[in-house]
Structures are given as structure tokens and as C-alpha cells.
């Protein structure tokens, strides 16, 4: 009789543990999904801003049609990208094309001092930052989610309920970010 109660208690504890772990995994999965959506929101915003920018600078930059074409092409390619890896590559290409355009804008004093262009530039810079911060945040959450699935004994539950690990963004995204200047002189 005592043995029965002991087993019953053990079963209850096990069940409780499974419920808690399962809920924890579900919570993390939703957080990761949410982080992923946040990236999408920002990417879409960037895609929407680009035609505006091209329209605004087109008249002044007729000799740079080639660069403008490349930005448009990169944008369209990015919109039609499928999957995380593909989208990351296409978005990086778009960032490159945009940076080239911004560098060229610097050669046109009328554009450089144009309020509209300045605002668009600020918006695109901010959106680009938001994309990389959203990726950074997503990577952190997704890593947490992946670790939670892989450690023993939670991996048994993850396998039981068929959880899948989340794909991460390549470190390349971070490598693109400006490497901070390090001053080792420790100014006194």
C-alpha cells in the first residue's frame, strides 16, 4: 500500500515536471516567433521606404541611373526571398546597394541639404538599425529556446512533442557592423 502511494506521488511529480517544462518550451517558442515577426515588420518597412527615396533623388541623380536600378532590383529580390538564409543574403545585398546610394548622395549638395532626403535617410538608417537589433534579439531568444530543447532531460520532452530548433541568423550580420575603435591608451 505504501509502495503504491510512493509510486503515485512519483508519477504526479513527473507529470507536473512535464507540464512545467512543456509550457516553458511553448513560451520560448512564442517569444522566438514574436522576435521573428518583429524582423519581418522592419524589413517590410524598409521595402516600403525605398521607392520613396528613389523617387525623391531620381530627378537630381540622372547620371546614377545604374545605382538606382541596382537598389530597386535588390529591393525586389529581397521581397521575393524565401526562407531565413535566402532572405538574409538578399537583405544584405540590399543594404550594400543602399549604402552605395547614400555615398553617392554625398556628392550632390542640393540633395544632401534637402530636408526630404535627410528625413528619408534618417528613416532608412533607423530601419536598418532596427533590423539588426531585431535579429540580435531574435538570435538571443532563439538560442535560449534551442538550448532549452537540447539539455538533458528536457530534450526528452522536446522530442516527445516534436519541437524543432530555430534557425539562427549568421554572425555575418554582426561582422558587418562597424568594428568599434579601441583606444588602448586609457587616457588619464
Amino acid at each position: 500500500m505504501i509502495l503504491f502511494y510512493v509510486l503515485l506521488a512519483a508519477a504526479m511529480v513527473l507529470l507536473l515536471w512535464i507540464v512545467v517544462k512543456y509550457n516553458g518550451l511553448i513560451m520560448l517558442r512564442n517569444q522566438a516567433l514574436n522576435g521573428w515577426k518583429q524582423i519581418d515588420v522592419q524589413l517590410k518597412r524598409r521595402h516600403d521606404l525605398i521607392p520613396n527615396l528613389v523617387q525623391t533623388v531620381k530627378g537630381q541623380m540622372e547620371f546614377e541611373q545604374d545605382t538606382l536600378q541596382k537598389v530597386i532590383q535588390a529591393r525586389n529580390a529581397a521581397i521575393s526571398a524565401k526562407g531565413i538564409a535566402d532572405s538574409a543574403v538578399k537583405e544584405d545585398m540590399l543594404s550594400g546597394a543602399l549604402n552605395k546610394l547614400f555615398a553617392l548622395v554625398e556628392n550632390y549638395p542640393t540633395l544632401r541639404s534637402n530636408e526630404n532626403v535627410k528625413q528619408l535617410q534618417e528613416e532608412l538608417t533607423s530601419t536598418e538599425n532596427k533590423i539588426s537589433f531585431a535579429r540580435q534579439f531574435y538570435n538571443d531568444i532563439a538560442t535560449k529556446f534551442n538550448i532549452a530543447q537540447q539539455v538533458f532531460p528536457a530534450n526528452i520532452i522536446a522530442a516527445m512533442f516534436n519541437f524543432k530548433t530555430s534557425e539562427l541568423f549568421e554572425i555575418k550580420v554582426d561582422a558587418e557592423r562597424e568594428v568599434p575603435n579601441v583606444d588602448l591608451s586609457l587616457k588619464k
Binding site: 528625413q119 532596427k130 540580435q136 534579439f137 561582422a175 568599434p180 588602448l184 588619464k188
Partner: protein
């Protein structure tokens, strides 16, 4: 300050310190209350236990903390004449964008954004939790920092919100207020009502004489020192929190040098921020009162400054930039 700690160790360390300090504050309030009970009201003795004084002391502490959490943020913002940022103004819009970026990086809801019309560069965060928080920056800050530096400052403030420093500092300020009030009452009690009660106590409890007397003396010393010790602890917490916010801000932007450049600029503009009053000083990124103490190093600065010496903050951040470099 051990500069070799990495950010996670620093976060852990700060959490432990904070917890210890909160306990000490509560114990302080409790002790003042118990003293009232034992020495004035006679509600705690061998044959009576009705700790009215203790309950009042702890209750006063919690009430003032609750009130501060509820309306403290608004009071601080009003006292600085802060106005909401205007999205149609290009420089305000940039600030709003940077704040959006940092709220995405930290995964927190976007705080309310205010501009303080003051030419001296400074910034602070306030509120009771990440869902009800505000960040305010001065017009001078917007005018003097570039985008990267602004991002560093906003990340610092966002970290104050994420680490619940805004709540902690609000509660500590409220507790300090309660301790000041109580110790003031206690001191008055010593001079006014103390005599007659002490006589009655000594006549009834002559057997417990010396020990009771020693306890009474210790309590009086405690009451006199409580405000000073409380103040020192509040400042210690504030300094720790500044280091932590610098570190976790750099973790958000992954660019410690942005904040280093901003701090360098803020330090050279050492004029006091006139519109930020003493009560909000511990919330700011640099001491708005322009006190010399925070600029110096050494024992006194470690004890009395609300902010760590700027030089130490910059060195700590530069060390972080160096640690980060291989991973980039």
C-alpha cells in the same frame, strides 16, 4: 570596482548588492519602530506585545514607496518642465527612432519620450516598471551628440528601465524619506516626551537595568546615524547601477565606444543642468548638480558621489570594447 568582471558577473553582483541594501533599509525602519515600542510606548516588554510603533514605521515606509511608484514619475517630469517629443521635429524624430531601436534590441515596450528644455546635455529615465516608463533627454543633449552617441545614451537609459533601476531608485528614495521622517520624530521624542517615560521604565524594570540602558543608547545612536547611513547606501546603490547600466547598454548596442564618446562630451560640458532638481539627480546619466565629488577618484568619491567617477566609467567601457572585439 573590479574592472575585470564581465557583464554577466557584474549583473549578478549588482543584484546581490541591491537585495542586501533593500533588506538593510527594511531592518532600519523596523529597528526604529521597535525602539519606539520598547522605549516610549512600552508596547514590547516581558508582558506585552503590541508593536504599534514597528507597524507604523514599516507601514509608513511601504506607503511612501507605493505613493512614489504611483505618481513619482509624473512629479519628476513635471518638475523638469519636460514636454513630449514631437515626431514632426527632425531632431526629436531621430531621438524617437533611436528609442525605438533600443526598445527592439531590449525587447521592451517603447517608453514615453520627453524633452527637457535645458541647454546642458543630460538624460534620465523614470517610471515604475518597463510597461510604465519614460525617458527624458535635454535639448542640449540632442544638440551636442551625434546619432551613435545618442544611441549609447539611450541604451544606458533603456538599461536602467530593463534592470528595474527606475523602480529601485524610486523605492529607495521613498524609504530614505520615511527614515528621515522617523528619525526626526525619534529625536524629538528624546528631547520632549522621553524624560517622563524613561523614568517610569527605569522604576519598573530595574532588574533589566544595564542591558536595557545599553540597548537604549545603541538605539539612540542608530536613530541619529540612520539618515547618514541610509544616504550612503542609496548612493552606493546608485553608483553600482550606473556601472551596470553602462555595461548592459553596451550589450544592447554592441558598441561601447558610442557611449564612451557621449560620456566624454557630457563630462566636458560640466555646467549644472539647472532644470533638474536634487531629487532627480540619481536618475541622470551624469550628475546634473555638477558636483566636484563625482569627478574625483578616491575614498570620498566612492562614498559620497551618486555617480562613479567618469574616468572609471570610461575605462570600464573601453575594456568592454576590447573584450568584444574578437567576437565581432
Amino acid at each position: 570596482m573590479d574592472k575585470t568582471r564581465n557583464i554577466y558577473e557584474q549583473q549578478e553582483h549588482n543584484k546581490r548588492t541591491t537585495f542586501a541594501v533593500m533588506i538593510i533599509f527594511v531592518v532600519f525602519l523596523g529597528l526604529i519602530g521597535v525602539g519606539f515600542d520598547a522605549f516610549y510606548l512600552g508596547t514590547i516588554s516581558e508582558d506585552a506585545f503590541l508593536p504599534i510603533g514597528t507597524v507604523i514605521a514599516l507601514g509608513l515606509g511601504s506607503l511612501s514607496a507605493a505613493w512614489s511608484l504611483q505618481s513619482g514619475a509624473k512629479a519628476v517630469l513635471t518638475s523638469t518642465n519636460a514636454v513630449p517629443a514631437d515626431p514632426n521635429n527632425p531632431s526629436h524624430k531621430q531621438l524617437l527612432n533611436v528609442i525605438d531601436e533600443m526598445s527592439i534590441a531590449s525587447g521592451l515596450p517603447r517608453p514615453q519620450v520627453y524633452i527637457v528644455p535645458d541647454p546642458d546635455p543630460n538624460a534620465f529615465a523614470t517610471g515604475k516598471d518597463p510597461q510604465n516608463s519614460s525617458i527624458a533627454v535635454t535639448q542640449g543633449l540632442l544638440d551636442s551628440l551625434n546619432r551613435e552617441e545618442l544611441q549609447g545614451v539611450v541604451a544606458h537609459e533603456m538599461s536602467h528601465i530593463r534592470n528595474y533601476d527606475i523602480r529601485l531608485m524610486t523605492v529607495i528614495a521613498a524609504m530614505m524619506g520615511a527614515i528621515l521622517l522617523l528619525s526626526d520624530w525619534a529625536r524629538r521624542g528624546l528631547f520632549w516626551g522621553g524624560g517622563s517615560r524613561r523614568k517610569s521604565r527605569s522604576s519598573e524594570g530595574s532588574s533589566a537595568g544595564p542591558i536595557a540602558l545599553i540597548l537604549l543608547v545603541l538605539w539612540i545612536i542608530g536613530v541619529i546615524l540612520a539618515p547618514l547611513i541610509g544616504q550612503l547606501m542609496a548612493m552606493a546603490v546608485s553608483r553600482k547601477r550606473e556601472y551596470l547600466a553602462d555595461a548592459s547598454g553596451a550589450e544592447l548596442t554592441r558598441n561601447p565606444m558610442g557611449l564612451v564618446h557621449a560620456l566624454t562630451k557630457l563630462e566636458s560640458a560640466s555646467a549644472p543642468t539647472a532644470s533638474i532638481k536634487r531629487g532627480a539627480a540619481h536618475l541622470c546619466i551624469v550628475d546634473p548638480l555638477g558636483r566636484k565629488m563625482n569627478a574625483k577618484e578616491g575614498f570620498a568619491a566612492e562614498l559620497f558621489g551618486t555617480h562613479p567617477p567618469m574616468k572609471n566609467r570610461i575605462i570600464a567601457l573601453e575594456a568592454m570594447a576590447y573584450q568584444m572585439k574578437p567576437s565581432l
